[in-house]
């Protein structure tokens, strides 16, 4: 979503198409792509006889949708920032690379020392991943999981993204000299 505005100059020459449309369309495309990939992987496992379906399909889907909301909000923020700060993508990509380690993907929060988990629990993605994880493993009981925190973060991210788009709208529709 980050380059939705900067790489769509020709599209945005059509006056009815607004930066908002381009950013949202990219967000929907990303989400649809990920859903298709997930379905293909699950179907692939099913055909070779491995049971990979989540026990709680509704829970997994809800976690995905809320996480997509967070991603969409952050995507809006990034797409707007990218138009003013041309190196923003490099900064963002390098900083968020750390999130692979800080979101409890490889190192399950249940195996972390308490003090480390208490700090990393500020990261909304850790909640997103554990919310998704418990839909697969009923025996996994993350007492630190705070669904409401993730929802609040997602809503705030969307609001921030929309506010930033509104505030800088005149700058978004401007050819660089």
């Amino acid at each position: 979503m980050m380059h939705a505005v900067t790489s769509n100059g020709a599209l945005l020459q059509l006056p009815p198409v607004k930066p908002f449309d381009a950013i949202l369309a990219r967000g929907i495309l990303e989400f649809a792509t990920d859903v298709v990939v997930a379905v293909l992987i699950l179907a692939g496992f099913a055909t070779i006889g491995i049971s990979a379906m989540p026990d709680d399909l509704g829970g997994a889907a809800t976690a995905l949708v809320v996480t997509a909301g967070l991603g969409c909000g952050v995507g809006f923020v990034n797409a707007v920032l990218q138009t003013t700060l041309r190196s923003w993508d490099r900064v963002w990509n390098n900083v968020t690379r750390l999130l692979y380690f800080f979101s409890g993907i490889f190192y399950v929060p249940g195996m972390m020392p308490d003090w480390a988990r208490d700090i990393l629990a500020w990261n909304p993605l850790l909640h997103a991943i554990d919310w998704f994880r418990i839909a697969f493993f009923a025996s996994y009981e993350p007492h630190w999981l705070d669904r409401r925190y993730l929802v609040v973060c997602a809503v705030l991210a969307v609001l921030a993204g929309l506010a930033l788009e509104r505030g800088l709208r005149r700058r978004l529709l401007s050819e660089p000299a």
Binding site: A10, L11, Q13, P15, P16, L172, L173, P176, A177
Partner: protein
């Protein structure tokens, strides 16, 4: 009718400086007549057209539009390079809510791209792109057409075809044209305007606009 109300537009140059293109410009392009805007290179003609279209927004001020205003018809493409001419036209037709089949066929007829209609726009020459853009613009019913100095495209035959098509369309639609070519403005417009030093002055006829343009030191073509 398109009205500019205290419109300001400034660009940041790569060197970090500022270039003021418009400073609190107010003007009204009335409906019912064709207006040609004269301006030297770099006076902000293309910026004006993009502002009028809404492809770009002013830093300050408002622009009001009555009726359907076209996208800017000019060298800068509104096309996606990886999509074919046909796919681009289909997209534009959907954006403007025009009949899909009809628009695709109309543009195919007008642009005369042959088998290139199915090829990515990246593979087009500048002239072919312009033909596609003219076709797209004419296939959709706009009340005001915004043209950025591209009446000199293609070969003689295609130019005549464009002139004819626009003349036909001008019975019910208006055009606003920016150019530094005096022949073009005489050919299409009843009223003129001059864009210079961040100011836009409208005149009741083309002759006085040309006069003012000449006095501003411009070399006429």
């Amino acid at each position: 009718m398109i009205a500019l109300d205290a419109v300001s537009k400034t660009y940041r140059t790569r060197q970090g400086g500022l270039r003021v293109v418009f400073d609190r410009v107010s003007a009204e392009f009335p409906g019912g007549c064709n207006i040609g805007v004269l301006g030297a290179n770099g006076a902000g003609k293309s910026t004006l057209i993009r502002l009028l279209a809404g492809s770009e927004m002013p830093d300050r001020g408002r622009i009001r539009r009555d009726g359907r205003v076209s996208f800017p018809l000019g060298y800068g493409g509104t096309f996606h390079g990886a999509l074919s001419g046909r796919e681009n036209i289909a997209f534009i037709a959907r954006v403007y809510g025009a009949d899909l089949r009809q628009t695709i066929d109309d543009v195919a007829d007008f642009a005369e791209l042959g088998s290139y209609y199915e090829m990515p726009v990246n593979t087009y020459s500048a002239g072919m792109r312009a033909r596609l853009a003219f076709g797209a613009c004419l296939a959709i019913d706009f009340d005001t057409y915004l043209i950025d100095e591209v009446t000199e495209i293609g070969d003689e035959r295609f130019r005549r075809k464009c002139a004819y098509a626009f003349r036909e369309r001008m019975r019910r639609s208006d055009i606003i044209l920016v150019t530094h070519n005096t022949r073009t403005i005489r050919q299409y417009c009843e009223r003129g305007a001059v864009l210079a030093d961040g100011e836009l002055r409208l005149f009741d006829d083309v002759a006085s606009a040309l006069d003012a343009y000449r006095r501003s030191g411009a070399v006429l073509q």
